[in-house]
């Protein structure tokens, strides 16, 4: 218990402060957990390793959680991994249940965060050995499984899948990146676009453009009337929150937390897949999933517990393989290299003090996040009462900052906001679906790399079925997911026909 001597007051202060700043970063549309960690990274040099880690882990936990706020209240995912939070959160906010939605999300977040911290603490080296059993083939199947959510998510399956494929197509624009092992050639564009689109569209500007800017365009078209705000306040009264909402949802919470931890742990699969996958599974497995996407708290629970479980999950490969599990931990690795500490398979046995200290900071940050958020929600939820003529220009401005800063200052990312704002507007106008499109965009690039690389190494399509028992299990899950959405689709169609004929 030698590490206890490192835990002074300022340690907890920094972890708490980190969580607070992280929440603010996450809550501002366009700012992300990754950015919060990146801008504070230089501070850790002066703080020393342990205090620095306290701050950064606080930022990480806070930033991931803060993403729920704009997702619920404004329909803009604050971080890419809170995209599925918008599916149910925003409909709830529109019904005047914003506060309730946020409270559900906060509780789900802290549960996800703590479960993943426990898993990290107890099983990190063991799970790291398991995660290296996932080669290109298995990773492709995981992505495919996450993509299968598109079928069950869309209101019209055909249109939904088509939108998803368009999303995948958009994600392929640019080079087949060398840093993923591609050959670095560009495709799907004309030569004159190359200076701008060489690396394709980057995710965050696409996301905030398609959600944030297009919402503003749709509102502008309707004249930006502000009577909605007063309606919301009135309705706000009906949204009493009580813990009974979690009754019977324990399986969902635990399952989603484990999915989040697990996906976070696979290097290269990335954070956004976690919440998407948890959301799919809840939709497929729970009995009363037909309300999901229209404002069901269970969707929020799945999404938020999974995306906070990411934090623990993504730290597993970082600390036991030296490989970051997501974009934020990729920045976090800098904190170690700055202090001259190598992370790798021997990190935990050789740095036990640091390891315990990180766990303490992680758990503490989760609690701080919970208390800050849970009691601040009342005030945060009032954002919707700010008149739109004040709110919208500020959203555009913050989107600009976020878009510009995400890749450390690239002007084309700002134009991407507008391009995808317009695209999002058109897509909704012609009746295509935004959510499948964006899921396709998020997962498309990885789907390509893992698919092509699998074939490159094994030279046969049959490898996807015969690679390993894990592959077979994943195929069963994919089959179940597809069958389920087809059955659900037919059921819904029948129900709506009966309604129409009555």
């Amino acid at each position: 218990m030698e590490f206890l001597s490192f835990l002074d007051f300022s340690f907890f202060l920094l972890a708490g402060f980190g969580a607070l700043v992280g929440i603010i970063f996450g809550a501002i549309p366009g700012m992300t957990a990754t950015m919060a960690v990146a801008v504070c990274l230089p501070l850790t040099y002066a703080l020393g390793l342990h205090h620095g880690l306290a701050l950064l882990l606080g930022l990480y936990v806070g930033g991931i959680s803060g993403g729920m706020v704009p997702a619920v209240l404004l329909n803009i995912p604050g971080t890419p991994s809170s995209i599925t939070t918008t599916f149910d959160g925003y409909p709830m906010a529109q019904k005047g249940e914003g506060e309730r939605a946020l409270r559900v999300s906060v509780i789900a977040s802290v549960i996800g965060g703590l479960i993943s911290a426990v898993v990290l603490f107890l099983f990190a080296p063991l799970l790291a050995d398991f995660s290296i059993k996932f080669s290109y083939v298995e990773k492709f199947l995981i992505i495919l499984l996450a993509l299968s959510v598109i079928a069950s998510l869309s209101s019209n399956m055909l249109v939904g899948i088509f939108s998803g494929v368009i999303g995948i197509w958009l994600s392929l624009i640019g080079t087949y990146s060398i840093s993923d092992g591609g050959n670095g050639h560009t495709r799907l564009m004309f030569d004159f676009m190359e200076p701008y689109l060489f690396e394709g569209f980057s995710l965050l500007p696409v996301l905030i453009g398609i959600f944030g800017i297009s919402t503003i365009l749709l509102e502008a078209e309707k004249g930006v009337r502000s009577e909605l705000a007063s309606e919301r306040v009135k309705l706000g009264k009906s949204s009493q929150f009580s813990f009974s909402i979690f009754k019977g949802r324990l399986t969902n919470l635990v399952r989603s937390s484990f999915i989040g931890t697990f996906v976070g742990m696979l290097p290269g699969v990335g954070g956004s897949a976690a919440s998407v996958l948890a959301y799919t599974q809840e939709k497929n497995l729970s009995r009363d999933s037909s309300e999901m996407g229209k404002g069901a708290p269970q969707g929020l629970m799945a999404s938020e517990s999974a995306n906070n479980a990411l934090t623990g999950g993504a730290l597993i490969p970082l600390l036991s393989l030296g490989i970051p599990g997501d974009s934020t931990t990729a920045v976090l690795i800098g904190a170690f290299t700055l202090q001259g500490i190598q992370v790798g398979p021997l990190f935990i046995p050789e740095n036990t003090d640091t390891w315990y200290i990180m766990m303490t900071a992680l758990v503490f940050a989760n609690f701080v996040m919970f208390f800050v958020m849970f009691y601040a929600i009342k005030h945060i939820a009032k954002v919707v009462m700010v008149p739109k003529y004040i709110l919208y220009p500020l959203i555009v401005m913050m989107c600009v900052v976020g878009g510009y800063a995400i890749n450390y200052g690239i002007m084309f990312d700002v134009w991407t906001l507008l391009i995808f704002g317009l695209l999002g507007y058109l897509v909704q106008k012609v009746g295509l679906e935004v959510a499948p499109l964006i899921i396709g965009f998020i997962l498309g690039g990885q789907a390509e790399v893992y698919f092509v690389k699998s074939l490159e190494s094994f030279g046969t399509y049959s490898i996807f079925f015969t690679k390993s028992p894990i592959a077979v299990v994943l195929w069963l899950l994919i089959a179940a997911s597809v069958i389920f959405s087809v059955v659900m689709g037919l059921k819904n169609r029948k129900a709506s026909r009966e309604e129409a004929s009555q």
Partner: protein
């Protein structure tokens, strides 16, 4: 960004808030480099060696010149483009050998840096470029691998194509073609991406040899042999003289002496004419071609002073970088010569 510079920023910021946006640009007292300077780097990672090394140098430089400087990890293609557009000297770039290797390998987005840009001073070497085999590999050392390939065995090497990660592979292939003409195709590249992808190829038994780094793989080499993840160094591409400058304690639990086992002349990758291949990953500045030459001199002079003071060397060595300062002109000649050597290797095995 060190602590003094942060508190300085905080202090100035607060002062400025009071002055309602007075002149925010800390004008460099004298000298042609003024205003805020942004240093773009060819990597998008803020956890990587390019970012870390650039920060060390840029912080020292900013303090010496008393101007605001900031490192931005925008990535190679964006960095080149940003540099192209600004000839005022407000944008500088730091990158490493990838900048010309990408061109030699014909990667899209790379052009001849010696024609398009002014080459600035070199600042440091990352001596960590390494090749590893699984711990239970039948090959004891690199010479056995060359011999095996020469005798018709297929050797699969996991690399990231088109640059620093591939050059060692190319040299190896070249050596096989010299020693065992016609057998070089037995060395097969497995093109992958990040370090984790390369490691994974080894765990999956899809590769016999992988490119890695001392920093990222050292701990793997200390795992017990029955661990699936255990690896063993067979080759560090750095020059013997480079590793000899490393701190004596080496890195992690691997001492400098142990590291020296894996460099020439213990490991010999021939380039013909009894010359041996080595590769040091060197970091250097790149400037816009039309930038005021006075700025080039100003930075050179500042760095000369910084390196004379000697603190920066300590910081670099602490982070396992080898200090390697050459002023612009010398650096340009040196790198040009370096490029032509590697060009001949790549031409040879085409």
């Amino acid at each position: 960004m060190s602590m003094p510079s942060i508190s300085k920023t905080l202090g100035t910021s607060i002062m400025m808030a009071g002055m309602a946006f007075g002149s925010a640009t800390a004008m460099a007292a004298d000298g042609p480099l003024r205003g805020n300077v942004r240093v773009v780097i060819g990597s998008t990672s803020t956890g990587g060696d390019t970012y870390q090394n650039s920060n060390i140098v840029v912080d020292a430089l900013a303090e010496k010149l008393d101007i605001n400087m900031k490192v931005d990890a925008v990535g190679a293609s964006s960095a080149f483009r940003t540099l192209d557009r600004d000839s005022r000297g407000n944008t500088l770039m730091i990158f490493h050998d990838q900048s010309y290797l990408g061109y030699l390998y014909g990667v899209e987005g790379y052009e001849d840096i010696f024609e398009k840009y002014t080459i600035g001073p070199t600042v440091a070497i990352n001596p960590g470029n390494a090749y590893l085999v699984p711990k239970d590999s039948p090959y004891e050392n690199l010479n056995q691998i060359i011999e095996a390939a020469g005798n018709g065995e297929e050797i699969r090497v996991a690399i990231q194509p088109g640059g620093v990660s591939e050059i060692g592979f190319s040299a190896l292939k070249n050596a096989i073609s010299i020693e065992y003409p016609g057998q070089e195709d037995n060395l097969v590249a497995v093109n992958t991406g990040s370090q984790s992808d390369k490691n994974q190829q080894l765990f999956d038994d899809q590769a016999d040899l992988i490119n890695g780094t001392v920093q990222a793989n050292e701990q793997y080499t200390r795992l017990p042999e029955d661990d699936q993840k255990a690896m063993r160094f067979v080759w560090l591409t750095a020059r013997q003289g480079t590793i000899e400058q490393a701190p004596e304690e080496g890195l992690g639990q691997t001492s400098r002496e142990q590291l020296l086992q894996y460099v020439e002349p213990n490991v010999n990758v021939t380039m013909g004419d009894s010359e041996s291949f080595t590769f040091d990953k060197e970091f250097f500045f790149l400037y816009n071609k039309d930038m005021d030459p006075a700025i080039v001199d100003q930075i050179d002079e500042a760095l000369v002073e910084i390196y004379q003071e000697g603190d920066i060397q300590e910081t670099q060595k602490k982070s396992f970088f080898i200090p390697d300062f050459k002023p612009s002109e010398e650096a340009s000649e040196y790198l040009k010569e370096k490029m032509s050597r590697y060009e001949s290797i790549i031409e040879n095995i085409k």
